[in-house]
Symmetry: C2
Subunit: 630 residues, 2 copies
Amino acid sequence: MSFSSLIFGRRLANREHEDKKIGWIEAVPAMGLDGLGSSSYGPEAALTILIPLGAAGLFYLGPIMACIVALLAILYFSYRQTLAAYPTSGGAYVVAKENLGEHPSLVAAAALMIDYVLNVAVGVSAGVGALVSAIPSLHPYILPLCLGIVLIVMVANLRGTGEAGWLFALPTYLFIACFLGVIGYGVLRIAMEADPLPVVSPPPLEPPTAAVSLWLLMHAFASGCTAMTGVEAVSNGVGSFRQPVVRNAYATLTIIVVVLGLLLGGIATIATSFDIGAMDQMKEGYQSVLSQVIGAVSGYNAFYYVAMTSLLCILCLSANTSFVGFPRVCRMVAADGYLPKAFAQPGRRLVFTAGIVFLSGSAGLLLAAFGGITEKLIPLFAIGAFLTFTVSQAGMVVHWRRQSRNVPFKLAMNAVGTVATGLALIVILVAKFAEGAWITLVAVPMTIVLLKTIKSYYTSLEQELREPGPITIEDVEPPTVLVVTEEWNRLSERAIKYALTISPDVVAVHLIRLGGPEMDDDEKLLREKWRAEVEEPVAAKGLQPPRLMLIPAPYRQLHEPLLRLVEKLDLDSPERKVTVLIPEIIKEGWLQKLLHMNRAGRLRARLLRFGGPRLTVATVPWRLSQGVLT
Amino acid sequence: MSFSSLIFGRRLANREHEDKKIGWIEAVPAMGLDGLGSSSYGPEAALTILIPLGAAGLFYLGPIMACIVALLAILYFSYRQTLAAYPTSGGAYVVAKENLGEHPSLVAAAALMIDYVLNVAVGVSAGVGALVSAIPSLHPYILPLCLGIVLIVMVANLRGTGEAGWLFALPTYLFIACFLGVIGYGVLRIAMEADPLPVVSPPPLEPPTAAVSLWLLMHAFASGCTAMTGVEAVSNGVGSFRQPVVRNAYATLTIIVVVLGLLLGGIATIATSFDIGAMDQMKEGYQSVLSQVIGAVSGYNAFYYVAMTSLLCILCLSANTSFVGFPRVCRMVAADGYLPKAFAQPGRRLVFTAGIVFLSGSAGLLLAAFGGITEKLIPLFAIGAFLTFTVSQAGMVVHWRRQSRNVPFKLAMNAVGTVATGLALIVILVAKFAEGAWITLVAVPMTIVLLKTIKSYYTSLEQELREPGPITIEDVEPPTVLVVTEEWNRLSERAIKYALTISPDVVAVHLIRLGGPEMDDDEKLLREKWRAEVEEPVAAKGLQPPRLMLIPAPYRQLHEPLLRLVEKLDLDSPERKVTVLIPEIIKEGWLQKLLHMNRAGRLRARLLRFGGPRLTVATVPWRLSQGVLT
């Protein structure tokens, strides 16, 4: 069992594809971590904006969260329709491509790709940030922890999400149980008790420093919208569901959205009733909103620690949602030629290796560049998500209009979705423009230019190689075969023997002073040996004997004199093909490679790159017997 | 003009070899920096050991330095004889190989190689240490400074010592002029004035803390011997002298040894007369012995700073001596098969690139491992030098004994050299065993084992490939040609056309589901197209039409199904050769490489490595037109 089998698992056959697909039980942890985890930072982000209003801020939390939950509901029903209409791949890229054309689809692709990369960096660093504030002694290791988590998630995804499911399933379902439980209990207390008292009183709210304004409320809404960024994942990952695909996708989406909606609504209710506000993260004694919520509802008991641990795990692993979405988006974009073909090629475990590795690499670079503190990037990534929502919904509207039968209700649903997410996008853009939203507005077009450049390369490549029509055979005269020889040994013997089977016109080329000015090539001896060992035996068989050419290599390079010789042959007989035959000792492992100069490999590369159009390069391998290697 | 031409200079032809050789004027800086620079640390090292004796220590300095200068004189005359006897390469390795056999020559080679690597690390870090104590603000940059100097010296040597001569010549001749001047003036003052007073009084000597002992004097002698480590360089570098070689070598050796001898003697005289002792480097106000010497003779004037600057440059660049010796030693060892062949191959500038790069790399690693502070390694490297001296002299003794005519004087001279350096080696070994000399005693045999392992690889390789005798031709039946095709395009067309010129037996292989489980290969369409576009036109020409084989690639790898097919063909007709033809788009630059999966290259490597003995792999290149690339 090799090292890579141990780490990544054995190579899977194409026919195992179906076995590796997942149902909703595995899909909720795989695709839902981002969405569920955002329940912890969405309400907190909105409350943070409301801090200047003091206690009055809590009055506005309810309406803002109601808007967000309503938006979530609209999105939910819109996406259900998308999943039903595009059961093999319901991502925004495909929907936009089919219905809106090239540019909208590239906008969706670019926005999604940027969003997914940001989500990994931001998700991991936020999770590690929470971990470090829980265990301050880990503070010096922020960056290694971040990179370690990216590595773990990467390896888990290279193995395949199905198998590594338990890594994500345990904390996910624990989180759902804990938080639905505590928040349900809290809401129940509020409903039952006349004036419920917090078990642990939250710290008093700061005195107000500003009056309420539309701008501030817009800002709070925009910040709260970060709670919705994970919703697109199910539609991008729809290809990984097992049969019945649509029902599995529905179940997954429903669980994620309903749990998220309940959490958001519950948190808003409890925060309002118990006077819980956001605290300044920079100040001593900071507590997150969720921590205060559990404290107020049930106190700091053992349950508190279990719940907070599950939250911590969820935050750390929320990057996984990107690992489900990103490679699949890239795969579809690559299949259309906008990304390198490697992104469309399933790897040893039938996952899209290139996408997974690229995502990990770019998120790792981002984390390293910011030292593992990427919270400043949070405002950037709601825009990508809402841009995607809007394009995807708009595509669905066109989709329904194109149907032969009338589907007014479905069309209306997606139209409402388009308008709602579009309006939210505008609010977020305006509210967060200066905070970094403009970066996304610059990055998306730049990515589109890159995608189109790649596409134009593939298009002209295809143009150049396009179907030639029926093959045209002028003549089948064998090529002139040049055999590169260093001395008369078994390697050259094998090459000459092979050369004689493909052409009667064989020339052995020996380069003089290849080894430098102090090299002593005895030309006379070489020629004599050639006559006795090669020319005479071959002629005796009635075959045309191979000639020996001694050519100086004044610059100690193999390819130069050979290319000059090929050029000369081209001039002499312009129709003739030339094949250069390189005998090569096959090196196994880097230790053996160190002992050879890889002249054969370098010569082949140079000849292939700089040779004329009629040049072919063949390698006659010599595999060493085991005795030599050990 | 390419980037590498700018840095390293244009590629030199073999015939320019002679023009690049150097005379004694260039050779003194190139080969002498180590020797001359050691005048600064040899006496200082001896005096440091004498510190515990207090003022009485100075009494013993004279005799110790006299011993060292005498040893130097013996070495000088011995090496003159070596140079005359081996004018193409007078290094210890060659002398030992010719006269003493394999093992002594490997001892010399290993000792020299280790010594040269250590010399680079130690020389550069000592130079930077002196620089940093002169300009303390550079202290945080010790390691980057060290690595930068190694890089500069490496690039200078990759260009060729001749051309980069000024870099080394200026400080060298300045150093010689300054220090011969000031020390000559000091000795003159001592001779002329009755009781010469120091211009600046050296700090008073520490009170004695120990009594004199043989052990202490041996130790002082052993430490002082580090002044002689640079003497071997001329004999190793003799191949780079222009005609008349021996006279140039004599002149170089003479200048280096005479200047070094005068400096050592002069320093000893002045130190004794002016009561100059070594100071503890760790203590505040540390001054080196040479700094005190100039201060005492002529004071701290402008001249002082010029002289100390030249010394600093010499120390920093003293690594260059290794760059002259190491690649040439490796070259000779590699030519005999004890090191990878690459070490014997002259590079673009006719220098031995592999040796230069390896020396820089290993010294750089050593520096990085010790953070640029490698002074602890100083005791290690006198042993390598004296081991080499002894082996080389012993070899010369055997050389003279083998001569037909009697040369008693020459024999005696080298015999004295052998005994003297051998005794010195024993003294150094005993005195410095615990300080690290044992490391050399471990490293030399380990290196020898490595060299012999490499040699045994090359020997069995040669055995396997040894001259086959006259070529034996059984038959020249053309091979079965397998053409790897992805679709019917110009690339496959060219490959099929070429295949038809070398064999009538052509099979096109198309792999099914290579792109993964969701790939949709329309087999019927493929077969129909093949019949219309290939089989029929070829048959119409009266040729045997190429068949199309569709083979599943269940694991999405090209090489596996192909190797299985080759195996099957081997079984069907065990005598038949098989050639796999791979059409390849030639990628220019890494950007284009990113856009392709390099399937052709990976397939070729796998087939060559795992194919049977009758398999040949040919590449039909397709160079893209400029339109595609831009």
